[in-house]
Symmetry: C2
DNA sequence: AGAAATGTGTAGAACGTTCTACGGCATCCC
DNA sequence: GGGATGCCGTAGAACGTTCTACACATTTCT
């Protein structure tokens, strides 16, 4: 009882056994008598012993999983986190989140830091890095990548089926009678492939083609301002679209503002749909039709795959989660 | 080169020196010649050595700071995180976030986990626990608490000056000519003291009294629905208020909806103000007058205090960050 | 010139676990 | 009754650092 922490040696002394025995009991390992079990657990309870994770790290497991977040502001991160922690709630794994920033460099620093802390596995959410860099990380620890289409042999992947999401929107609008449906996407100069907005745009194109309609994609950015600018340009055309499908809700909010300013009423003059189903989309005052990717399911799936991989699976798995369309007040039949 | 990791021993071998020498160079400790310095850093670069944080943990520092998040959905967490990481960006500290959930039990589990991983210090954001529990944590690691008024000797505290924030709103509304100003607050059954909403309500009362006005506080909850219900009740009164100050923006959004449904125009018939200045408050379509607590400053301050404490300060510090009022379109002179 | 001080490097014990060997003791089988 | 077989428990070496002692060499002081 010199200072602070209760160690395995303290427990062993108290119970009158060896540290190895205590270790066995703690880990639920083979070769422990009922009597030993009782003695040791009692000593543990009395002393309030908790294994020191950092010390464990030096020999195998740390029971720590790292989740690298790219953009902390991303509105459905909370859902994904909830999915992950929910799935892991009754296991002994602990989840720690690492704010990786949006730069490849800071993200690399974060993943390095996680590996240096010998985390048992990593979930990377929308990482901005090359496949080669991902491969290096995956060589050092089990990895599940969320939100990037493509995947690779070295790690597992969980994605929202963005092609399907885009199709849901187009089908819905076409079903309402729209034919001039424009899409606002995000302009990205990064070399990364398979980012969600690219796949959404491609899904939109496919769906339009399937309906025999001409596609119309405008690339601005996934910000309120980007949506506003894009919509202003689209609405100034002679043959203006009767519906705008923005690849992200935040941009859709900008579209709504542009409609306001142009004196167009929604959905009578213009239907608007977004993607992500962020919290405020459901506020009655906004009531934005949007595609919901179930973040909880995505997170739970990622957690499951990661644990499987940690426990030995080597074959790579790519899981695709189906989104659903949430129809609200901003979409309706076109006037006339 | 048997497997994976480059260790300090590998570097020592390569440079032809002892591991102790390498350790000195890595830590920038005293007693290293220029020649030694050069040899070792070269070997480190060649091998790509990074110190193993978990191994370090067993002897002193881990250079890891833990941030416990209570509610991941809280819209200004990202700002606080940015403030923390921004401040720490050029140090060797790494920040890891722990989703603690809203239950005292899960939060305790998370702080325990952080201590078990021997993190060098903890920042707790709006923790829901008793002062006694906080004291236990603070005994095991340096702690800074964010968002709880009151503080204690064992840890540092950073809070938004919620009394001032409430006063800013009341002063603004009174300046516009309002006299019947109601406040919507959050109903909490937890035994925790000094939670922001309580202090905001108290600040509102003080400010009203200072103006010689009668206060009018209604407790529902800080949700869109809570704001809606509260406003509906307030607006049904004979002597309905001309301004409603909601203690959180999310509730203010509900107030706006209630005004819509009651056929009242904002701000002519009803002024509305919120608190937190969440992202969408600035959207032109919402344009909500709100109190901005500079999350970045709060985060940066918390990080600074924590590092100071880790480096030896023992005297406790409580820092209060001044909020600012952002006047937008939802407040104006009463029609009367 | 000898003693003291300073500067530079190393040996080796910690830190708190896990886990491989192995030893002791019953039990079982022929 | 003696060897094989299980079961239970322990000793002690790892894991990758840090850090206190100390050894040795050089410089400074008197």
């Amino acid at each position: 009882m010199t200072s602070g922490r209760v160690t395995i040696a303290d427990v062993a002394r108290r119970a009158g056994v060896s540290t190895a025995a205590v270790s066995k009991v703690v880990r639920g390992a083979y070769g422990v008598s009922a009597e030993m079990q009782a003695k040791v657990t009692q000593a543990i309870d009395e002393l309030g012993y908790r294994p020191h994770a950092a010390a464990r790290a030096l020999r195998g497991r740390t029971y720590t999983l790292g989740v690298m977040l790219s953009d902390t502001r991303n509105p459905f991160f909370p859902d994904i986190i909830e999915g992950i922690t929910g799935r892991l709630g009754d296991t002994e794994y602990q989840v720690l989140l690492g704010p990786g920033g949006i730069e490849p460099k800071t993200q690399a620093r974060m993943t390095d830091a996680m590996i240096d802390r010998s985390m048992d596995g990593l979930i990377l959410i929308s990482p901005v890095m090359t496949d080669a860099e991902l491969a290096v990380i995956a060589a050092a620890a089990p990895v599940v990548v969320v939100g990037r289409h493509g995947g690779a042999a070295a790690y597992d992947a969980v994605v929202d089926d963005d092609v399907m999401g885009a199709r849901l929107v187009v089908d819905h609008l076409v079903g309402l009678g729209h034919t001039r449906i424009a899409h606002i996407t995000h302009l990205e100069r990064a070399r990364a492939q398979g980012l969600p907005h690219m796949v959404r745009a491609e899904g939109y194109r496919q769906a339009m083609r399937a309906h025999g309609l001409a596609d119309d994609v405008l690339a601005t950015s996934f910000t309120e301002e980007g949506g506003f600018e894009g919509a202003r340009e689209l609405l100034a055309r002679d043959d203006r679209p009767t519906a705008i499908f923005a690849g992200a809700d935040i941009a859709a909010l900008g579209v709504l503002r542009a409609a306001d300013e142009a004196g167009l009423s929604v959905p009578e003059d213009l239907s608007v749909a977004g993607y992500d189903n962020i919290g405020i989309a459901s506020l009655k005052r906004i009531s934005l039709t949007s595609v919901d990717q179930d973040g909880r399911v995505i997170g739970a799936t990622a957690a499951r795959l990661l644990v499987e991989r940690i426990e030995g699976r080597t074959r790579s798995v790519a899981s695709s989660v189906s989104p659903t369309l949430i129809v609200r007040g901003t979409t309706g039949p076109p006037r006339h």
